[in-house]
C-alpha cells in the first residue's frame, strides 16, 4: 500500500474517532430523551399508529427523530466497524466489511428518513 493511502486512511479514522465522541455527547440528549419519553413515560402499551401520527403532526418532533436517526445509526454502524476491525485483519476482508456496512447504513437510514418525511399512511 502506498504512503498516500495510509495517510488518507489515518485521517478518515481520525475524523471517525472525533465524530464518535461529538455525536456521542449529542446522543446523550437525543437518545436518553427518546428512551425516557417513549419507554418510561409513555410506554409501549400506549404506542400505536395514532400515537405516531399525533407525534409527527409536530414538525419539531419529526426533526428530533430525524436527528436521532442520523446520529444514532451512523454512530452505531461505525461502532460495529470498529469492533469488527478487532477481528478482521486482512485488508480486503475489512474492505468488504466496510462496503457491507455502508450499504446497510444507507438503506436503513433512507428507510427511516422516508417514513419520517412521508408520515403515517392510512391502513388500506
Amino acid at each position: 500500500m502506498s504512503a498516500v493511502n495510509l495517510e488518507k486512511r489515518r485521517s478518515f479514522d481520525q475524523i471517525a474517532w472525533n465524530a464518535m465522541r461529538y455525536s456521542g455527547v449529542l446522543l446523550i440528549f437525543l437518545a436518553f430523551g427518546h428512551v425516557l419519553l417513549q419507554d418510561v413515560i409513555v410506554g409501549v402499551h400506549r404506542i400505536d399508529l395514532d400515537y405516531v401520527a399525533m407525534r409527527w403532526a409536530n414538525w419539531g418532533w419529526r426533526m428530533y427523530d430525524l436527528f436521532l436517526l442520523a446520529f444514532a445509526f451512523a454512530h452505531g454502524m461505525n461502532g460495529v466497524r470498529q469492533v469488527l476491525s478487532d477481528f478482521v485483519h486482512q485488508e480486503r476482508h475489512m474492505r468488504a466489511v466496510n462496503v457491507a456496512l455502508l450499504v446497510v447504513w444507507l438503506v436503513v437510514t433512507l428507510m427511516g428518513a422516508a417514513a419520517i418525511f412521508g408520515g403515517v399512511r392510512p391502513v388500506q
Binding site: 465522541r21 461529538y22 456521542g24 455527547v25 446522543l27 446523550i28 437518545a31 436518553f32 428512551v35 425516557l36 419507554d39 418510561v40 410506554g43 409501549v44 402499551h45 404506542i47 400505536d48 399508529l49 405516531v52 401520527a53 436517526l69 444514532a72 445509526f73 452505531g76 454502524m77 461502532g79 460495529v80 469492533v83 478487532d86 477481528f87 485483519h89 446497510v104 436503513v108 437510514t109 428507510m111 427511516g112 422516508a114 417514513a115 412521508g118 408520515g119 403515517v120 399512511r121 392510512p122 391502513v123 388500506q124
Partner: protein, 139 residues
C-alpha cells in the same frame, strides 16, 4: 479462526479491573443497542411503507419477553451513554484523568450513575408490564 480466538481470548483474559469491565460493557451495550436500533428503524418505517403491519410489530414489543428485553435495552443505552460521556470528556478535555486511579474511580462513578438512572426507570417499566400483561395494580 485463530485470530478470533486471539481477540476473544484478549477480551476474556486481560486483567484490567475497572477499565477492562468498562471496555467490555461498552462493547456489549453498544452492540446490543445497535442491533435493536436497526430493527427499530425498520419497524417504525412500517408506519409509512406497510401501516397495516405496524401493530404486529408493536404487539411483539408489548409481549412479556420483549418487555424484559426492554429493561435490559434501557440499561444498555444508559450505561453506554454515561460511559461514552466519560470517554469523550477524558479524551477531549481531561486527558490527565486517564491516570489509573482516577480512571478506576470514574468507572465506579459511571456504574453508580447508571444504576441511579436505570433502577427508577426499571420500576416504572416493570410496573407497566405488570399492569398491562398481568392485570395487576388495577390493570
Amino acid at each position: 479462526m485463530s485470530r478470533l480466538k486471539t481477540a476473544l481470548g484478549g477480551y476474556a483474559g486481560y486483567q484490567g479491573r475497572e477499565g477492562h469491565l468498562a471496555f467490555l460493557l461498552h462493547r456489549v451495550t453498544g452492540l446490543g443497542t445497535v442491533l435493536f436500533l436497526t430493527i427499530h428503524i425498520v419497524d417504525t418505517a412500517l408506519v409509512y411503507f406497510r401501516p397495516e403491519l405496524y401493530m404486529d410489530a408493536v404487539a411483539l414489543y408489548r409481549s412479556t419477553l420483549f418487555g424484559i428485553g426492554e429493561v435490559f435495552l434501557v440499561f444498555c443505552v444508559f450505561y453506554h451513554g454515561i460511559n461514552g460521556l466519560r470517554i469523550a470528556a477524558f479524551d477531549l478535555f481531561l486527558k490527565k484523568n486517564w491516570q489509573i486511579q482516577t480512571a478506576r474511580s470514574s468507572v465506579r462513578w459511571t456504574l453508580g450513575l447508571t444504576l441511579l438512572l436505570w433502577l427508577p426507570a426499571t420500576v416504572i417499566m416493570v410496573r407497566n408490564l405488570l399492569i398491562h400483561n398481568f392485570g395487576l395494580f388495577g390493570g
